[in-house]
């Protein structure tokens, strides 16, 4: 019964991708990272839902859109515990867990105000030095940006 109530909170999709277990306060970061604010597909989302794992969580359902491994892993920076369900004909066809990438470009601002990426038209680029509590080392200035200081672009 409980499960059915949850289902109703964010209506089911026929084909597409469900991203679940997003920390509620990072929902809009995930939307930015996946570029959902620039696509025409139908998107439904719910936030501040109860979650045993996260306290409050958000969920996003995107119709007729399937993401590449690389795209999926980018959201790991903001939602390391996110789970993806690939839906075909209302059925969960596949479940995926995100993995934090070793390196990536963009997504986050370097914490160092004296870094070239904050002073010139240079895209931030990072090496991930810790994957549990995500922590990033700038490819350019070599300073470390931790979770607490992460600003998503």
């Amino acid at each position: 019964m409980d499960k059915d109530v949850k289902q109703l909170k964010v209506s089911a999709i026929r084909n597409g991708t469900v991203v679940d277990h997003i920390p509620a306060n990072n929902l809009f970061k995930v939307i930015t990272i996946l570029g959902l604010d620039h696509i025409d597909n139908q998107i439904t989302f719910g936030t501040n839902l109860e979650s045993k794992l996260l306290g409050t969580k958000a969920i996003v359902k995107i119709s007729d859109r399937f993401f590449s491994e690389e795209e999926i892993n980018r959201i790991a920076i903001a939602a390391p515990q996110a789970k993806l369900n690939i839906i075909r004909n209302y059925k969960v066809e596949e479940k995926k867990q995100v993995t934090v990438p070793d390196e990536f470009t963009g997504i986050v601002k370097c914490v160092n105000p004296k870094c070239i990426t904050n002073n010139d038209e240079v895209k931030p680029r990072f090496r991930v030095i810790s994957k549990e509590e995500v922590s990033l080392k700038c490819h350019y200035c070599e300073k470390i940006t931790d979770q607490e200081h992460m600003v998503f672009i």
Binding site: C110, I116, N119
Partner: protein, 301 residues
Amino acid sequence: MKNKSLISINDFTKEEILRVLDLAGEFEQNPVQSILEGKVVATLFFEPSTRTRLSFESAVNRLGGKIIGFSDSASSSSTKGESLKDTIKTVSNYSDLIVIRHPIEGSARYAGEVAAVPVINAGDGANQHPTQTLLDLYSIRKTQQTLENLNLFIVGDLKYGRTVHSLLMAMAHFNATYHFISPKELRIPQEYKLFLDQHGLKYHEYTDFKDIISDADIIYVTRVQKERFSDPIEYEKTKNAYILKNSMLQGTKGNLRILHPLPRVNEISVDVDDNEKAYYFTQALNGVYTRQAIISLILGL
């Protein structure tokens, strides 16, 4: 190493570091050679650093190369609003190698990515200054006959001093034991202690610079800068606590040498200069040989 840029000391492996030092030793024996004839080296100094620039230019001149460039950004197009990328792309056309000094951190790495020729980082803000580290290593090996298993004492501003951070990382190849001496405001940052832990290296921290240097092989002194202190009273209290005086060198080891990246203000008292353990002026001369070695290896000569 041919055509490889030198941006961070971590760009070179232990073997590459040793190759630079070996070749620097050959240049010390025979510093005037015309192997750079017909080559043009650009020295782009977006902030002034007379000492580093002259050292590079001396190295190039002694090898018969030509220099183009500027010594501060006021005399470059960046004052007209030109981006770093455009400056580097343009200068790439005019030169075989670019030496860059820039106040913005990461600018040298970026320059290396957009340049068609190799780039040497001559200091990017508080980040890296790898040729300084290589000349420090050369000076240490020359005075100790080895780089392995040394007792390295580092004094002064350990928080912001980029020469300290690069030296610390480079010496990790050689199983050094580290002794960090600084006011508590300028302690070695946590990330470097983690780095040493990961490499299984021993280190000790002190706030008091007295009676601890008897087993030192190298004392590396850096300047404690007034602008690093939020509280000027705190600066006045600490500034005299980290001065190396000649009297403190009694009872130290015979092989001990004192290094300093220069410029010095008052952190090594002038009475140390005549002590045979003072090595900082020769260290600066070693910079020319080391840079000769780096330039020739990168140009594949």
